[in-house]
Amino acid sequence: MALSDWNIVMRSMRSRWFSTVLTILTVAIASGLMTLLISMRSAGEDAFKRGTGNVQILISKEPGPLASVLNSMFYAEAPGGPILYSQFEELVSSYPFAWTVPTQLGDSYQGSPVMGTTGAFFESFQPAADLVWTLSDGVYFDSPFEIVVGAEAAKVHNLHLGDSITLEHGTARTMGGHDHGEFGFTVVGILNPTATAHDRALFTSLESSWVLHAHDRREAQLGHGVHTSIDDVSDDDRKITGIYASIGERKAALMQVLGALRADPNWTVANPASTVGGLFKIVSNIDQVLLAMAIAVMFSSGISILVALYNTMEQRRRQIAVLRVLGASKMRVFNLVLTESAIIGLLGGFVGIAIALAAGTVVSGILQARVGIVVNPSLPVDGYLMIVLATLALSCVAGIIPAVVAYRTAVVRSLRPIG
């Protein structure tokens, strides 16, 4: 087999492998940081917006709209401020909602949130734009103590149809919760994934949730061991923590309803999409600073390629001079050095994307566990391609000065015997 320019470049890189690996790592960290930042930024915003689905109005008694959205739609914490079901019914009759879904949060299964709701949750609420709920197995709940499991929750807890589970009062981060071991829930359905926070939740009927709370009340009143059924649920037990609502396509009516509801101090009213947009406006300044830092790191990695290659030029003068004597043109040695720089950039770009994907998986896992959003930190293929091309272009620019040094190598002087 003949020797090629590629072999010479590879041999040159291998002979200085430590310096080459360090330079590749520097480029990789820079491009990885850039990739992670861009992908997390868009993925975060997408995940938040996606999770709000087709809800136009979120009504609760939370301290503010952001807390309301995070708790009622992303399961961050158990919502505070219960709403009596009768108040919900009154509200529904007072405004021209296209649909409403009452939600009740506060219970959990091994750390996963359990939502008490009605069939309208699966019929009217869409977890993401143009995405309807579908089951991978089973049916939606129809009777008390039936439970439907989100795709992620089913996977994490290894739940299957027919499994019987018991719930805990309180969420994973609520201290002082207790087990409702006396009430067995049967898994009747497993949902298909929606890539939203809802995937890690379990869903049961409001009545089932209310029975748990009625039981708590009755145990406090009548002592331990009391039996509680749906008939023991009083009006005071019929509470919810949030209301998903939509006006439909009537934008003018939406503004009117939002205005009217916001005028009532009893309610915390949020338009989830604009609340999420507002959240990202707040963080966008920090985001831009981080992006600027990532760009600065990219440039510094370009400089490190330049320095790494430039420092080797003194050692390589003799090799370049020999290649020139053997018949290599100035342009050919220029291209050899530029190719080396490009390979470093290209490898750095690819390794950087691999680092970003790994880090993104870790970060999304943390976000899912702590904030409740399902973030998919990935870019479209052309996004990754752009980052690799940008890294390649930067490394080529950084390689120009060392390549010019190679081009201008004085052959005769470089071949003089040392000493």
Partner: protein, 264 residues
């Protein structure tokens, strides 16, 4: 054919297998391409009214009215240190531009060629052997030969075979060894093999035995001269070692050819 049999000193210097009992040249195989190159019967080197002067200096370092070297000739150039011996080789190789005059190799004026054309021409027609060999460290023995063949017009599929043939001819049977692992004598033979890789019109040897002990200089010259004859390349050898002079067909003293100047 080597004049000296291996001795313990030879073995220590050149490696145990350093010197083959016989060097088996295959003139037909090695000369075939060269025969095509020299079919036009031009002298291997033809220098006419050559003058070279370093910028900013008062007088030329080299002035040669005419010098012609035949394709089968082996010429030794001697001269005092700084008389311009190495400079003349660099001019012939096209690594430097003369101030005036022309240098033709195989009928082509090398100093009339520009840029990559000259580099390509050098790769095809000129082989060089240096005092310190100038092998590519970090590369294997065969890769050093293949590096020269990269710039030849030999089809790529034949590079390896050609390189192995040259190494076998020169008694190197460790083609995959690193250059750093070779003895000085073995390195010299690799340098000779590399110089001959493209069947050049001319091999320019700049003090090829200066790094060797005097005892082995003759043996090394045997190798170089015999290899050049086998390949059909003219040999121009620059040396200040007058003991080597008598082994050449022709001896040219720089002082007789060039006006004296100072080479830095």
């Amino acid at each position: 054919m080597p004049k000296h049999k291996p001795t313990w000193l030879w073995a220590a210097t050149f490696g145990v297998e350093a010197w083959p009992d016989e060097i088996h040249f295959d003139p037909v195989r090695l000369r075939s391409r060269h025969a095509m190159k020299t079919a036009n019967h031009h002298p291997a080197i033809e220098i006419d009214s050559l003058s070279f002067q370093y910028p900013g200096t008062a007088c030329p370092v080299i002035e040669i009215d005419r010098l012609a070297i035949r394709a089968d000739e082996q010429v030794v150039l001697t001269g005092q240190s700084g008389s311009g011996k190495s400079t003349l080789l660099h001019l012939i190789a096209g690594l430097m531009d003369p101030t005036a005059g022309s240098i033709q190799i195989n009928g082509i004026c090398i100093n009339g060629l520009r840029g990559s054309k000259r580099d390509r021409f050098r790769g095809h027609h000129v082989g060089m052997v240096f005092q310190t060999f100038q092998l590519l460290h970090g590369f294997s023995v065969i890769e050093n030969i293949l590096a020269a063949l990269m710039f030849s017009d030999l089809p790529k599929g034949q590079h390896r075979e050609r390189a192995l043939g040259l190494l076998e001819m020169l008694g190197i049977n460790t083609p995959n060894a690193r250059i750093e692992e070779l003895s000085v004598g073995q390195q010299q033979r690799v340098a000779v093999a590399r110089a001959l890789a493209c069947s050049p019109t001319v091999v320019l040897a700049d003090e090829p035995t200066a790094a060797l002990d005097p005892e082995f200089a003759n043996t090394a010259m045997d190798l170089l001269q015999e290899a050049c004859r086998s390949v059909g390349s003219a040999l121009v050898c620059v040396t200040h070692d007058r003991s080597l002079v008598e082994r050449f067909d022709r001896h040219e003293r720089l002082e007789d050819l060039v006006s004296l100047g100072s080479v830095s």
